[in-house]
């Protein structure tokens, strides 16, 4: 089976390993990664299984399982077709499209500001991964017409709630951090929820639909 042959497993130090199912931003691969992370997360010898776009980082207990033993189990599991999971939770997020980069982004793309807003709030995006900072969700794929490289000079401070995009992704800054994405709007919805556990509004596999306010 081609899917099985493309699985790569390699160590991340001596108590974790990385399972790579592919190298694309792809819903089918992401669904497989989520299913594999869920299955591995139930094992007693696995401390945490973290899904990426097309991968799972597995933190294991070397006192309970060897690297080779676990890698063997995973290559069997990873080749199997996952059961169809439930669709991710849908979040409708209001956006005020007035970001400092909105006009420049529109002109760089050869679009009007209204086009950018219409195109960005059109699709239902998938959360492919969480990382970078607590609560940061990588959402995509962005419509082709909106794809731009990151800003050449990143900002040293981006306010939380900023709605941004770069390359084929969009996202919402959860915390005041540096950032190199184009800021096109803002939302009052908070991505980082310090009082909740897990402290992130979104989970990998969730769906997000933006609407303009």
């Amino acid at each position: 089976m081609p899917a099985q042959r493309s699985v790569r497993i390699a160590p991340l130090g001596d108590a974790a390993l990385l399972v790579e199912l592919g190298q694309r931003v792809d819903t089918a691969l992401n669904t497989r990664a989520l299913a594999l992370a869920a299955a591995l997360g139930k094992r007693r010898d696995v401390r945490e299984a973290v899904p990426g776009y097309a991968s799972v980082a597995v933190h294991y207990d070397p006192e309970q399982v060897t690297y080779r033993g676990l890698a063997g189990v995973i290559s069997k599991l990873a080749g199997a077709k996952p059961p169809p999971g439930p669709p991710g939770r849908l979040h409708r997020i209001p956006v005020t499209y007035d970001g400092p980069d909105l006009r420049a982004t529109a002109s760089q793309l050869g679009l009007s500001v209204d086009d950018v807003i219409r195109l960005h709030s059109g699709p239902t995006y998938r959360c492919f991964a969480i990382g970078f900072a607590p609560g940061w969700a990588y959402l995509g794929p962005l419509p082709e017409a909106l794809r731009l490289p990151r800003r050449r000079v990143p900002r040293t401070h981006v306010p939380p709630g900023s709605v941004a995009m770069a390359e084929l992704l969009t996202g919402i800054y959860p915390l005041p951090t540096p950032g190199g994405w184009h800021l096109i709007g803002r939302t009052a919805v908070r991505m980082f929820l310090p009082q909740s556990d897990p402290p992130s509004l979104l989970r990998t596999g969730d769906r997000v639909k933006f609407f303009a306010t």
Partner: protein, 318 residues
Amino acid sequence: MTDPGPVLRVLRVEDPGMFMTIQDLGRPGRRAAGVPPGGGLDRFALSAANLLVGNPEGAACLECALSGPTLLARRSCLVAITGADFAATLNGRSMPSWTSVFVSEGDRLAFGGRRWGGRIYIAVSGGLAADRWLGSASTYVLVGKGGVHGRPLKAGDELTVAGPALHPGVAGRELPEPLRPPYSTEPELSAIEGPHVRLLLPASRRAMFGQRWTVSRDADRMGYRLEGTPLAIKATELVSFGLAMGCVQVPPSGEPILLMADHQTAGGYPVVAGVARCDLPLAAQLLPGEHLRFRLETVEAAQVEWRRLRAGLDTLKR
């Protein structure tokens, strides 16, 4: 910090030193929400300090980077200082490290200066009381959680004890040097080849494990950027995947980054190596301008070395 009343006070911060935070063994299990494990950078030293004073090894204690604090004891307790050597003194007289010491109310703990290493750990019997977030007292400054209001400690902070010690402590207990990690000012870190080592050009693969790297000024609890002959890598960025403490990632500049406890939980830079757990304490003691090398190791051999180190620590549980 609000005044907790006189009963539980244990240490008053007279001078916090360069960067002092409350840390424990961190908050694993929330990486999928983007929360790094956090906790002490030198987990061996942190655990040893706690065990020496009769605490569970993951109790909250102080991590002091670059320089030591000045602390006033507000009640009698056992104290242990581990990790680097910042020339600890008790009431002006030299105080041993890696040893439990009885401290009386009114005693002053201070540090003469850095002799070697980057971080010390100070544990008190009973452990320190601290804000807990997601099951850990570790200070995580980015989100302002854990420790004392999620911030580094400052002069005037009154630290309180979490509770009675787990075991009645004994003064003069020591973890002898042969049982500690083989700290060095220029360590060779055992590292296992990472998932993307194949993306290094052959000369760079040799350079990664052959050359002497310098810790740059960009070195903090998140990670250390290393300087040396830059590595040439075939792919610059992959789709983001989960990371672990000790991973060595290579950004387009070719200068590797060694990830430490507050690392980003996911990233897209190729990971060419992962430092073994047994040698992370050695990495934790490095400061900007200091040097390190990587030595290729297998997963299995690294795990054996970890067990050996761990057995030394476990002698303190008896």
